[in-house]
């Protein structure tokens, strides 16, 4: 039986919708950061941006498959390569121009241009297996915002990385759940918790870094006289508005994508994905503690001398196999032959023999052990 993909269950749909929200939040955060950094930020413009991106994503997630369905594999690859090359060229050109001229006005225009491009990428979000287009463009917007320095750059970098992490985590879960007939697995909460736990050290680290060392802007930027420099309190107000708009847009995206999203994936023919029947979970049996025999008196001293020599030999790089007998080990051990034979004989008698060794034998074993340790030389440096 080579099965085709079962329709995604409710759990997968929830994760798909959450992934769309994460993508939207990342897009809006990056675009808003770049716009706030380089253009006059008022509620109307940010609202327009939030609406535009939300609509683009909803349209892309809902109807992007129509474009995808009409393309063959080769055409899709050709389109992807051409788009990537053109986009890469545009990014290099834009950044070179911005850094070369250091004109705030030009950076503002580029922020607007890449915001529009972000909407275009979201429209094509469902084209292909990954969402690389919107991710790449969002990072370009974050880079543009970083050049501004200050709170804007700190928020752009920290938030961008966090949202990217959430998007990747949700995308991974959605991808896996879509590939298998999973049934009733609800992983949304677990996915978010795992992502948050992994992202927390990175985000906290970046935050501490930016608090201790506020980000500096790109040196020698020329601002137009008519455009006043944005103050930090204005930026904070802009971010408050941004959060409200992002929440509203996210709610819209979540609801609509859950309503309209349909799965279209198909599996390669030679791999069948099968449902698993889960039995009861049971506790693993406790591993039995390794019984170590206790040796006392002269017997113990001889055994300890031998074990000490083996430990010393291991430090010098000697490796013995469990199948080797003490005499095999002695034959391969690069130590002085006389003490080695003495110690091996005494060890075999003490370890396996019935009689308790004498005090003299114990002393002889310890002396032989010391002689061998000296003969083995220095520790091998790893």
């Amino acid at each position: 039986m080579t099965s085709v993909t079962a329709p995604p269950g409710d759990a997968a749909l929830r994760i798909l919708a959450a992934r769309s929200v994460a993508l939207y939040a990342l897009s809006f955060h990056a675009a808003a950061s770049a716009l706030v950094a380089w253009r006059p930020s008022d509620v109307r413009r940010l609202g327009l941006c939030a609406m535009g991106l939300a609509m683009a994503l909803i349209l892309g997630e809902s109807f992007g498959g129509i474009v995808d369905a009409g393309l063959e594999g080769t055409s899709r690859l050709r389109l992807r390569v051409t788009t990537a090359a053109a986009y890469g060229g545009l990014v290099v050109l834009a950044l070179s121009a911005a850094i070369g001229t250091r004109e705030a006005r030009l950076l503002g225009q580029e922020a607007l241009l890449f915001t529009v491009l972000q909407a275009a990428f979201l429209l094509l979000a469902d084209l292909g297996r990954t969402h690389l287009g919107p991710i790449a463009n969002a990072l370009v917007l974050v880079v543009l915002a970083s050049l501004r320095g200050g709170v804007v750059a700190a928020a752009a970098v920290t938030g961008g990385l966090a949202l990217l992490g959430f998007f990747l985590a949700l995308d991974h879960s959605a991808r896996v759940l879509q590939a298998y007939p999973v049934g009733r697995a609800d992983l949304l909460g677990a996915t978010l918790r795992r992502a948050a736990a992994s992202l927390a050290p990175v985000v906290v680290g970046l935050t501490v870094f930016f608090v201790l060392s506020p980000a500096l802007p790109l040196p020698r930027i020329r601002f137009a006289v008519s455009v006043p420099r944005t103050m930090d309190d204005e930026v904070a107000a802009a971010y408050r508005r941004l959060v409200v708009l992002a929440l509203a847009g996210s709610g819209l995206v979540f609801g609509v994508v859950r309503l309209l999203r349909r799965d279209r994936d198909r599996r390669p023919p030679l791999e069948e994905t099968l449902p698993l029947e889960r039995g009861a979970e049971e506790a693993l049996p406790e591993p039995e503690p390794r019984a170590r025999r206790e040796y006392h008196g002269p017997r113990g001293r001889i055994v300890r001398a031998y074990v000490g020599v083996l430990a010393r030999a291991r430090e010098t790089g000697f490796r013995s196999r469990p199948s080797q007998t003490p005499r095999d080990i002695a034959a391969h051990l690069p130590g002085p032959a006389g003490p080695l034979d003495t110690l091996t004989d005494l060890f075999v008698g003490a370890r396996y023999g019935p009689d308790e060794p004498s005090e003299e034998q114990a002393l002889a074993a310890e002396r032989a052990g010391q002689a061998i340790a000296v003969g083995l030389g220095k520790k091998k440096r790893v």
């Binding site: 690389l132 790449a136 920290t158 990747l168 991808r175 697995a185 791999e271 994905t273 889960r278 039995g279």
Partner: protein, 425 residues
């Protein structure tokens, strides 16, 4: 499994973060460098999590090692999480040889808590024809929460799995020996034994079971007398299979080896099902010798030997019968399954006569190899083949020996299921 993962994001992050680091260093923009450092830290954390996620996981397979063609097979997997962390989205890949698909991809979505064991079952079908297949290896894949890194562990748990040919009841064989009853042990002989059939009474001897004392007769005679019963005769079926390499013809499902193995399997299974002691003898690339035995387990062993035969022998069927004549007990049934109709009929008659003289009931099944696609030698002309078939039929009829000829144009299942399979010729 390939659909569930992508390396695109990871490669993109390597490139983009590297570019950001270079740009930040060149322009002296700390935020860009922080972006690069944070991104690489995220990648590093992900890499470690994928490795740790895999480290504590162990998987083992439990599956009954044989099934018939088209059977649904439940395969149990035992997934152990020996770490203290909870595992999520563990992908398992198995390779069940008898299935059409190369791989079986499975997902344990989790949560699988630390120090816990989860038993999982997937069901697949033996879609490939009879033979010995490999099951395994198993592959475990764990990922980090972002799906950037995938840590794989291959478990070299490769075990053989036997797929037996589908068996159909050979209707004709039921009539041989006229014992299609529910009890397979009803034939008895008038010798003292352990059957339920009453033979008579005799004087008590030391060691006789006291429960066997016939009290009325003992009272009449004044000395202890015990009851005697007849001995059970166990029905005995011997299959002699022709694995002579000169009788190879055809390919795939329409080949002499296919017909020989399937017919053998059906005869063995039918005989074993009705309670016969069954033995199988043949001489292929290696000796096929299934000693006499009864029951399903023995029949399964016989099938296991049959699916490993190769038509590479150099001993003719008639020589095989001569060689093993002493192993065919009196009163038993001996089925001679030949890969060709072109046997030495005079010698065949002699052998069949000798078997009948010893009280053996012979059955002859001939596979018309010339009806299959010729491989290494030309097919005999049709008229010649028809003449040989008539001659063989006449011989069998003259000695009242049940026989059948199977050809490529026959549907084997329908043919073996016919009630008059051994009657019309």
């Amino acid at each position: 499994m390939a659909r569930s993962r992508t390396d695109t994001y990871r490669r993109f992050l390597y490139a983009a973060l590297g570019f950001a680091a270079l740009l930040g260093a060149a322009l002296g923009v700390e935020a860009l460098m922080a972006l690069a450092v944070g991104g690489f830290a995220l990648l590093f954390v992900s890499w470690g999590q994928a490795r740790r996620g895999r480290a504590g996981l162990r998987v083992a397979r439990e599956v009954y090692p044989s099934a018939f063609e088209d059977d649904a097979v439940p395969v149990s997997l035992v997934l152990d999480n020996r770490s203290r962390r909870t595992s999520w989205l563990v992908e398992i890949r198995d390779s069940f040889g008898p299935a059409v698909a190369d791989r079986q991809a499975l997902l344990e979505p989790g949560p699988l808590r630390g120090a816990r064991r989860q038993r999982l079952v997937y069901r697949t079908a033996c879609s490939r024809p009879w033979g010995i297949y490999a099951v395994g290896p198993l592959t475990l894949v764990a990922s980090d929460p972002f799906g950037l890194f995938h840590a794989e562990r291959s478990v070299p748990d490769v075990t053989p799995f036997a797929v037996f040919p589908r068996v159909w009841s050979v209707a004709g064989i039921e009539k041989l020996g006229a014992r299609p009853s529910l009890s397979p042990r009803e034939v008895t002989s008038t010798r003292p034994g352990q059957s339920l059939a009453y033979l008579g009474v005799r004087d008590f001897r030391s060691g006789d079971d006291l429960r066997r004392i016939h009290w009325p007769a003992t009272a009449r005679r004044g000395a202890p007398v015990v009851k005697e019963h007849e001995v059970d005769l166990v029905p005995y079926f011997t299959l002699l299979v022709d694995l002579d390499r000169s009788h190879r013809a055809g390919t795939g499902l329409k080949s002499t080896i296919e017909y020989l193995v399937r017919t053998s399997a059906c005869l063995v299974w039918t005989a074993a099902s009705r309670g016969d002691l069954v033995q199988v003898l043949g001489e292929g690339a290696r000796t096929l010798e299934v000693p006499p035995g009864a029951g399903t387990l023995h029949a399964t062993q016989a099938l296991y030997e049959l699916i490993q035969v190769q038509q590479e022998g150099r001993l003719s069927l008639l020589d095989l019968v001569e060689q093993h004549r002493m192993h065919i007990p009196a009163g038993s049934t001996a089925a001679l399954l030949s890969g060709s109709m072109f046997l030495d009929l005079e010698r065949l008659e002699e052998i069949l006569g000798a078997l009948q003289a010893r009280g053996v009931r012979p059955v002859v099944v001939l596979v018309n190899k010339d009806s299959f696609l010729p491989i290494d030698r030309r097919a005999v002309p049709r008229q010649e083949a028809e003449a040989q078939a008539r001659a063989a039929t006449t011989l069998l009829r003259s000695r009242a020996i049940p026989g059948a000829i199977l050809s490529a144009e026959h549907d084997l299942e329908a043919q073996l299921g016919r009630n008059d399979l051994f009657e019309e010729r």
